[in-house]
Symmetry: C2
Subunit: 343 residues, 2 copies
Amino acid sequence: MTLKEIAAMAGVSVATVSYVLNNTAQVSDETRQKVEKIIKETGYRSNILAKSLRKNESRLIGVIVEDVTVWHTAYIIDGINEIAEARGYNIILSNLRLLSKIESQFEHISIFKKEIDKVVDVLIGMQVDGIIYVGMHDRKINDILHDMKKPVVYCYCYTDGERSSVRYSNEKSEYQLTQMLIQSGHRNFGVIYGLKESEPAKLRFKGLKKALDEADIELKSENIVYGNWTYKDGKEAGKKLLNKKDYPHAIIAMNDDMAVGANDAAKELGIRIPDDVSIIGFDNADIVHYVSPKITTVDRPLQEMGYRSMELLLDSISGASVGDVNITLPCALVEGESVKKRN
Amino acid sequence: MTLKEIAAMAGVSVATVSYVLNNTAQVSDETRQKVEKIIKETGYRSNILAKSLRKNESRLIGVIVEDVTVWHTAYIIDGINEIAEARGYNIILSNLRLLSKIESQFEHISIFKKEIDKVVDVLIGMQVDGIIYVGMHDRKINDILHDMKKPVVYCYCYTDGERSSVRYSNEKSEYQLTQMLIQSGHRNFGVIYGLKESEPAKLRFKGLKKALDEADIELKSENIVYGNWTYKDGKEAGKKLLNKKDYPHAIIAMNDDMAVGANDAAKELGIRIPDDVSIIGFDNADIVHYVSPKITTVDRPLQEMGYRSMELLLDSISGASVGDVNITLPCALVEGESVKKRN
DNA sequence: GTGAAAGCGCTAACAG
DNA sequence: CTGTTAGCGCTTTCAC
């Protein structure tokens, strides 16, 4: 079914049908009804490709995700999608599948420039109005889309230069969690640090250190143990921290997996959580709701990051905003049962 | 940049540029190099929209997912994506976001026919070559896309009528798990059933019953307890099953969340897993790798379901296959530490 | 109010 | 080997 056929059936010109369809000119009631009837009967749907070509705007957004199976990605896509639906945009999803391609050496992402270029080529070929790039780790990356003339927003990562980005606050969230522990009466701290070189780990440390410093609390260097974000490392770290006489009474694990590991370590050592030791995590992973006691943690605003990314992009597309905007959204405390008030 | 401009710069006709670009006619080396040079210099990318319009094929696949945040969805998308990339197709993702819209009353999905129609309208308008519909629960649904003339594949759900589908085997997998328990020497069984009306639950029950019947093992009706797939329900069910003298020595939980709940129930009752009681789950959820002991379970071939769905669809598009094909893929046993061999 | 016609960027006869 | 040209389905100016 094409416009032309509808026009023929209705005995009017293609222009008139187009007017009716888009409400773009005055059409007599009689004609309008005639045309609408035929459209309904035939189930005609206009060809968006042709329309886009003619109007030189696709209402298509390219979403490049580093890996769709990294669980935060789905929630960000969900957020992007909601705004897209409301504003009449469609999403082309490009999945780089970095996880299976590079395994753990994600820092060498620049190697994948070629693959990304390929994806971008297609997206631009599809005439997308803009691109959102969703990272699989929160970190700074090279502006992979540097030669993109159209608006770009980085989400769950960021880049140098004139590019907008949407992230969550690592530093502030860990700062607040730590403050909460301090206010609960804790003074003797242990830290289970994430991957030493990782940016979120550094930022989270900065946040907790700030809170401790402000309260004049010393953090002994032997009470800082490093792990690689995994349950296993968390358990080992927990044992190191807790298997000594003067073990810390509050453990800040930089993510939930490690917090859960430490929790299990405590159990094995016969140390009660939260009565003997309080533990907090980060991320609000599913797992914290299954373990006992539930681990107190912090929830990243994933869906919200999707909303904001899309809004930023659309503003940029419509010209409502220019230049780069860097948004850092707050995380929300999720209270579990792993923190004890001491007084 | 358009073909026309490139042609002008190279001093040839648009046809020639098109020939070079698509390798669709013999072009002299001299001309080819001249054109290629300009293309490279200008970074020209052909307009896929225009090409699709002209060729009347979009190489676009519509993927409708009931909810992208239901975790299996991401893996299926990943699988679809991999094939798409290899075969030169692009994915338009439509996310119905049913989870937030209907919460638990997903059986009333027909209400959402209107929303789905809207999505399909857009997809057809985009001239997609076919559609894959990814369910959030494994079940039979009305053929929501009944008036689609183009190929459709249902994934993680199915429908009546001439539609292809790709699923995993509930019945056979539970059958095999149960056989494994029987071979390990178990004879006294308990079942933690999922939502009574749910299809996977019924199928899984059918599978386990078949294995028990074949081995002439009786399943006492008081040893069947129902839950709603949640950790909490699993824990309650576990208590019911285990808090009596002659408790079963092997518990078949119909999913991992409930298995983990039952595992915790056992712990609270001082019953050792797997020494006193063996437990199995279903789904290979993340959680089973965190708990102690690791729960033996079964992994659904999610990525593979994505592959097969896409392959089926592409075969149908190319005319390589006609009629509906219904594929049921096997699950893979994931051995944990929750099953004891008794002899 | 309505229609004729140009043209968005591209492909593919067809002619030379 | 290369160019001319029609036309994919649509919007939009301009005329009537």
